[in-house]
């Protein structure tokens, strides 16, 4: 039954035996999961379990950290993202990212959203206007800012800033949107707005979300991957910690009928 549920739908990204190292220290060990097209996949787990690390590996954001290294394969349309001939810029243009803390550029709302399209060589004012309008509408922000697109992005409230960042991401029409705890800095009302937005976006995009909040994972996601921590004593009394994939299943199944005891204890809130 599990295999049937898992098998349904096309795969957007396929992670195979992914390991991430930070300056030769293992951070995440051997993660293999599929990311299904037009579905929301949630990554959950205790702090330090490597869920954000895996997420950042998917659009090669870890390249920016000196000493970070990824082993294994992340296949996207049959090509390994970590292959020699792959350009990380190409990857990030197709797999967009929304960050934990809203990080609008210190520019106007319009320039924030137009940033990506301009990089792609769109210079025509009318086309840009259209893209900006469509993207801001797409992130349900239009009614709040339509009169004042020249206002600085930093002048918006936290929730609005985060929706601006989402608008900025969908302006470049990515296939996949990665969200790294997008609601952790927001109040409940703003969180609800983002969650509704995600449900709308998933019709045209594939979404991966890292969340600390199990209710949120339950509310929005179709599939959930649970990560946990492994520890080992090293010589000299130092403790080594790294993350592993605990369980991957459709969300409903993972929360109602977890296979491993560790997952069950985590969803019951016994650690984390």
């Amino acid at each position: 039954m599990t295999s049937m549920t898992l098998g349904s739908g096309a795969t957007a990204i396929d992670l195979k035996h992914v390991k991430v190292f930070y300056s030769d220290k293992l951070a995440v060990d051997d993660v293999s999961i599929p990311i299904y097209k037009n579905k929301i996949t949630a990554f959950i787990g205790p702090s330090g379990c490597g869920k954000s690390t895996v997420l950042r590996a998917i659009n090669r954001m870890n390249d920016l950290i000196p000493g970070a290294r990824v082993e294994g394969e992340i296949n996207y349309h049959g090509k390994n993202l970590y292959g020699k001939e792959v350009d990380p810029v190409e990857v990030r243009r197709r797999i967009g990212m929304v960050f934990q803390k809203p990080n609008p550029f210190p520019k106007s709302i319009y320039d924030n959203v137009a940033y990506g399209p301009r990089l792609l060589g769109v210079t025509d004012k009318r086309t840009l206007d259209e893209i900006v309008e469509r993207s801001i509408k797409g992130s349900f922000l239009w009614d709040e800012v339509k009169g004042d697109l020249k206002k600085s992005g930093l002048a918006l409230s936290g929730g609005q800033q985060q929706r601006l960042c989402i608008a900025r991401t969908i302006a470049i029409e990515p296939d996949v949107i990665l969200m790294d705890e997008p609601c952790s800095a927001l109040d409940p009302i703003a969180t609800q707005a983002i969650e509704e937005l995600m449900k709308e976006l998933v019709k045209s995009y594939t979404i991966v979300i890292v969340t600390h909040n199990m209710q949120q994972a339950q509310r929005v996601s179709d599939f959930t991957a649970f990560y946990s921590i492994r520890k080992a004593e090293e010589t000299g009394g130092q403790e080594r910690r790294w993350g592993v994939l605990g369980e991957f299943a459709p969300t409903e199944q993972l929360f109602s009928n977890p296979k491993s005891e560790e997952t069950e204890r985590y969803i019951r809130g016994e650690f984390g």
Partner: protein, 452 residues
Amino acid sequence: MATMSTARERVKDEAKFTAGLRNRHLRGQIWMRFFQAAILLGLLALITLMFNVVNRVYGLTAVRDAVPVSTFSDRPLEELNASELAGILVAQLPSGGRVLVRDSLIGQENYNNNREAPLSQLIQGVTLPDDVGALTLAQLQPENTQVIFENAFTPEDMRLTIITDIVGREVLESWTWSESLFNRAAIDEKVASTADWEGAQLEWRSWLNFSFLTSRMTTVASESGVRAALLGSLLTIFLTVVVAFPLGVGTAIYLQEYSTGDHWFERLIETNIRNLAGVPSIIYGLLGLAIFVRALEGITQGRTIISAALTMALLILPVIIINAQEALRAVPPSIREASFGLGATKWQTVFRSVLPAAMPGILTGTILGMSRAIGETAPLIVIGASTFIANDPTLASRFTVLPIQIYNWTKDPREGFSEIAAATIVLLLIVLLLFNATAIILRQRFRRSLSA
């Protein structure tokens, strides 16, 4: 709806994107090379600057003696004793050396007041035989000057005078180290064939040598030394620090430990220091000229090391204050709390706990200020540093310092002076290097003591 899809297509136009991306990467590559070139140019400038100086300190020099030593002495000057040297001066100088005695008296107050005074009063600190001491300058005969030379001048002084006044040594031309190495043939050719250069001798010469450090200034580049300027620099720096250190540290302590920043006067001090740090140094020179040299002439004796040091002290005060504040800020609050917790008063806490912990940082800042002061030239030109000082300076005498000598010698068009300017630069840079090495050691100590 149609336009919408066009916009969408524009963004999703894969072929165009791939083509564009190649250009974008190329542009990034080109700019990265530019950024790299910028820093390499900075590096290159530093290397060129250093090489340009060092290149002039060592090389071939063509020197000519108008009257070679061999014409009046069968032994080299270095082997002669004081009375033999004095004998040469008496025998070779016109009027038996009376002019030389007079020249050394010019500028002395005693001589200016009474030119008819007996020599024993004019030449101080030297015991002359009674019969010679009773003479006035006008009565001085060649047979008496021998005694005066022997007693009043050191052998080194007499040797220098023989070389400049009797031998008439002259630097005809000097070549850089690289020219001397790679262009030797042309140099030999020039020395041999130039008509006026008969008797010229070509020799390898290091312009920075021990006697350059220890001998006095003369009018001949090859014999001139930097002793007066070096002593002047050290004296000035010493006095500058003596004045600026307590004032600067005191201000920093007030601003960091006592000031709350609420009172307008405290804010004024703070803003004022930032502004003073940006005032051009030559303005401090004008201030020193009007206040220390002119208005306070009674205390400072005019254009003296005292005036120079007071001016420099004001100049480096902001540097010391800003760095000392930084060092005090870095002292962890726990140290203050521990001290207060033991019933210490504010001053006890500051003086016994905070200040010792911040001291290495404060000293580092002070050394930075000293580095600035030892290289400053403009304010000293304005307050009137002298160009030619033969005697060792005192606090209240006219003075010169290393950078002033660099300035004067660089401007001097005569052969050889550009080279001694270079030698002085190397000397100044070595002094700076010593300062900075001390600062680095202190900074490391500081870091260790705070982390312990």
